[in-house]
């Protein structure tokens, strides 16, 4: 069953359609939510809620449209809301690399370790962004949305997104410089 058939099934009340959509999008949804909320359990809750919302809203969804962009937009919104409500939460992140990951591609061990350290720095720096800043970074660099799409999504003037993104990038840059130079 492809995506379009799954949506049509779901519109008819066949829950099997939702199972197909979950199979197609759950990993990307949880990963998107995780990068914004920084909490794996919360990210799973957010993704579940987004699927439930999609299930409830499916009668309004045009089956000729692609489900993914619409759905991931819901995930970003829900994750942002969850992150803002969980500002008191601070995760304690540590990044350790498994041997499988280390040898997963052709790069040298040194390059891999260096990249992993950089990822650790990026993740730590991301923790110091506001949820809104994290959301724009994730939209831009994880979901590959354009600034204008983000503006439409966040219901924000394009100039605001431009500066929000710029501030987030500069903040990341500054934090990364601090961390890497240590």
């Amino acid at each position: 069953m492809d995506e379009k058939q799954a949506i049509l099934c779901l519109k008819r009340g066949d829950i099997g359609g939702l199972e197909v959509l979950v199979g197609l999008y759950q990993v990307r949804a949880v990963r998107t939510a995780y990068l914004i909320t920084r909490d794996a359990a919360l990210a799973e809750d957010v993704a579940q809620e987004a699927f439930l919302q999609a299930y409830r809203s499916i009668q309004h969804f045009d089956p000729d449209r692609l489900f993914g962009p619409w759905f991931l937009r819901c995930v970003v919104h829900a994750a942002l809301k969850a992150a803002q409500k969980n500002m008191s939460h601070e995760d304690h992140y540590s990044r350790e690399m498994t041997l499988e990951e280390l040898f997963a591609d052709g790069a040298s061990v040194e390059e891999q370790v260096e990249m992993t350290e950089f990822q650790g720095h990026v993740w730590s720096a991301m923790q110091n962004l506001t949820p809104r800043q994290r959301a724009v970074v994730v939209q831009r660099y994880f979901l590959d949305m354009s600034e204008k799409e983000m503006a439409a999504e966040l219901e924000t003037p394009p100039g605001t997104v431009k500066w929000l993104l710029h501030a987030a990038r500069e903040r990341l840059r500054s934090l990364l410089s601090e961390r890497i130079s240590r």
Binding site: E149, A151, G159, A168
Partner: protein, 675 residues
């Protein structure tokens, strides 16, 4: 940092922490099997009334405030004028919601010491791994005696990443009370991921004589204090860089008599550099700071040097009582021989100890009345409107207590399904009890009638971790349709042809489908000044969607299934405007002053310098700064100087132009519509 590295890192982090084999389905099925109750009791049914009744009610019931936002919005104003908005006055008693587990309170201490005739009581201590604080009261401060900046120790744990400290002394009342907050990391690296960190705490508070010399030191020791895993908080700039020279604001002392600050910098050479006339602007909130009168430092101590870093304590003769934010600026450094390094080094702090909320302080000090939601609160839905692109509601909260706000709202259809919408909530500045709530659906409302419910969440104005209560309203609203016109009108300007392809318009909202040739292959879009006038009403662009671009795959994400691009070599966009038709023949005028390009990922310094030179010729001096803070920070354009009467937005516009981010038009279309 290259953007590609960031992109790769995010994907790698996501892959690392969220495995491919994740399976949400079993839990989803379990949740779907639990039937969702629809707990709302319809309390009223909307009755549609004519304009005269609406206006009459508005005059006699005092709901004129509710029109404030409606009358600031051309679309909602026109639907109000046309009698499409219902005055409903349906009241609900909000349901009090359970709040989350309260955070653990501060540790009450209550230990006193007396030195040199001065008695000091340590009232409480609170440790987070990113911020530590304590509160005290003191009596007997006479003959010029005062307190200096405290020092906190944490046993075996060495604090890291110091990000500034602040001491606030409320010395205009008895007993004198004080709060000290220091931003730094206190964390046991060996244990913090597996168990609570506890540490012994030592607190030294120097007692100073009238000349600022240490007379004695109060010393308190607290055993095995819990370090809470609190958030990184702030918005306080600790260090900033200008003209290649970094400066930090190490601490600030706030009292009713004066403000003292220690600023440290690494001089560009071995000379005796000093701060020149630093200024401070204080305000009851961050918005008031910019308009506050700058106060120049009246005195400063000798510069002390430590490892090449020079520090200077400056005193501002201004009261900090009741102030919650400040901006401190150092414009230049100079030597005794007249050499100068220009700044500005600006430090913006909006988290000062005076008003910071530590858990449990309320019970020790002033209770927060606004968090006690009373049973006699009522929430009234006064107005409602719906079309296929927008729903708008006016809600009023009535309570004997103040300080409640609507900060979230949801729409559900009759089956209890929450609609996927954008949300906007505004409140007129002169009536904080009324709120206009607007929903913009991601998918157009398809039915002619909307039956469902509006749920609003009531929060404390002070924030908090969860809503205090919610109120529900049953809805039965007509949904006004959109009218579609395809004018296919073309206009050329500055070598670029544009086509106004489609107008989709409801009584409150218009969507414009526009196609154009891009001046280059980059991300060109209609500028933020793009406007739409329908009859006498006008609105600026409020929403934007890219729907077709031949350079990035054509019909993007299939967002417009019933629409085809008129020319597959052009970019097509859909724009939203808060202005609607008036059910009569009238002109629609779309004006695009310029195309705007997305800012480059990395701004090349030479391009920035060229733009700066161009702006200097127009009397505008800009600079590019980066700063770091405890939770805030970042970087961006700093406006050093601008011609009188010019706004910051105008400077930004000129800056974008100088950077080549604009492609001037204008393109203007006028079409007569006949709804």
């Amino acid at each position: 940092m290259k953007d590609e590295s960031l992109r790769k890192s995010l994907h790698a982090i996501a892959r690392h922490d969220i495995p491919e084999n994740i399976n949400l389905w079993p839990r989803l099925v379990a949740r779907l099997e639990r039937k969702k109750p629809f707990a709302v009791q319809p309390k009223w049914k909307l009755t549609w009334i004519v304009l005269l009744v609406l206006l009459g009610l508005s005059g006699v019931t005092g709901v004129a405030y509710a029109f404030y936002h409606f009358f600031n919005d051309a679309g909602l104003q026109s639907v109000s004028d046309a009698g499409l908005i219902s005055t409903v006055n349906a009241t609900a008693l909000p349901t009090r919601l359970p709040t989350s587990t309260p955070p653990e309170p501060v540790t009450a201490i209550g230990e006193s010491q007396t030195l040199e005739g001065v008695s000091l009581t340590l009232n409480w201590v609170y440790l987070m791994d990113g911020q530590q604080a304590f509160g005290f009261s003191v009596s007997g401060l006479k003959d010029g005696k005062t307190l200096g900046i405290p020092l906190m120790g944490f046993g075996q744990l060495v604090p890291k990443q110091y990000r500034g400290a602040s001491l606030a002394i409320k010395d205009n009342a008895q007993p004198v009370a004080g709060t000290y907050v220091v931003n730094q990391i206190v964390r046991d690296a060996r244990t913090f991921e597996i168990t609570d960190t506890r540490t012994d705490v030592s607190i030294d508070i120097p007692l100073l004589d009238g000349n600022g010399q240490v007379l004695n030191t109060f010393r308190f020791d607290v055993k095995s204090e819990l370090v809470h895993a609190g958030p990184f908080t702030g918005g306080n700039t600790y260090s900033t860089l200008a003209n290649g020279l970094g400066m930090s604001l190490d601490w600030i002392l706030l009292s009713s008599k004066a403000v003292q600050a220690q600023l440290c910098f690494t001089p560009p050479d071995g000379k005796e550099w000093r701060l020149v006339s630093p200024t401070i602007q204080l305000g009851a909130d961050p918005n008031q700071v910019a308009s506050a009168t700058p106060v120049t430092a009246s005195s400063s101590t000798a510069v002390t040097t430590d490892g090449g870093v020079r520090c200077q304590v400056v005193t501002f003769p201004v009261s900090a009582t009741g102030e919650q934010a400040f901006s401190l600026t150092v414009s230049e450094l100079s030597t005794f021989t007249g050499e100068v390094v220009k700044g500005d080094w600006t430090f913006n702090w909006n988290q000062l100890p005076n008003e910071m909320q530590f858990p449990g302080i309320a019970s020790l000090e002033t209770p927060l009345g606004s968090e006690n939601i009373g049973n006699d609160m009522t929430v009234t839905l006064e107005k409602a409107y719906a079309d296929i692109n927008r729903m708008a509601f006016v809600v009023a909260i009535k309570s004997p207590e103040e300080g409640f706000v609507v900060s979230s709202a949801t729409l559900e259809d009759a089956s209890g399904t929450e609609l996927n919408t954008g949300l906007g909530i505004t409140s007129p500045p002169d009536d904080p009890t009324r709120f206009t709530i607007e929903f913009f659906p991601y998918n157009e409302f398809v039915a002619n009638q909307f039956k469902g419910q509006l749920a609003v969440e009531i929060w404390s104005q002070l924030g908090g971790s969860s809503a205090l209560a919610d109120a529900h309203f049953a809805l039965d609203l007509p949904v006004y349709p959109a009218i579609v016109f395809d004018p296919m009108q073309t206009v050329s300007a500055n070598g670029v042809e544009m086509m106004l392809q489609r107008i989709k318009i409801t009584p409150s909202y218009a969507q414009i489908y526009l196609c154009f040739q891009k001046p280059s292959s980059t991300d060109w879009t209609p500028g933020s000044s793009t406007s739409l006038q329908v009859g006498a009403d006008k609105a600026n662009i409020g929403a934007y969607t890219l729907i077709f671009d031949p350079d990035i795959g054509g019909n993007l994400k299939n967002t417009e299934p019933d629409w085809n691009p008129p020319n597959k070599s052009d970019r097509c966009v859909k724009m939203g405007f808060s202005v609607g038709h008036h059910s009569q023949p009238e002109n629609v005028t779309l004006t695009i002053s310029e195309l705007e390009q997305s800012m480059a990922e990395v701004t090349p310094p030479d391009q920035l310098q060229a733009a700066r030179q161009q702006l200097l010729a127009q009397g505008i001096d800009i600079d590019w700064e980066t700063s770091s803070g405890n939770g805030g920070g970042g970087g961006g354009l700093v406006i050093r100087q601008k011609p009188a009467g010019m706004t910051d937005d105008q400077v930004m516009q000129l800056f974008y132009e100088a950077m080549g981010y604009y492609y001037p038009g204008p393109w203007s279309f006028t079409v007569e519509i006949k709804p």
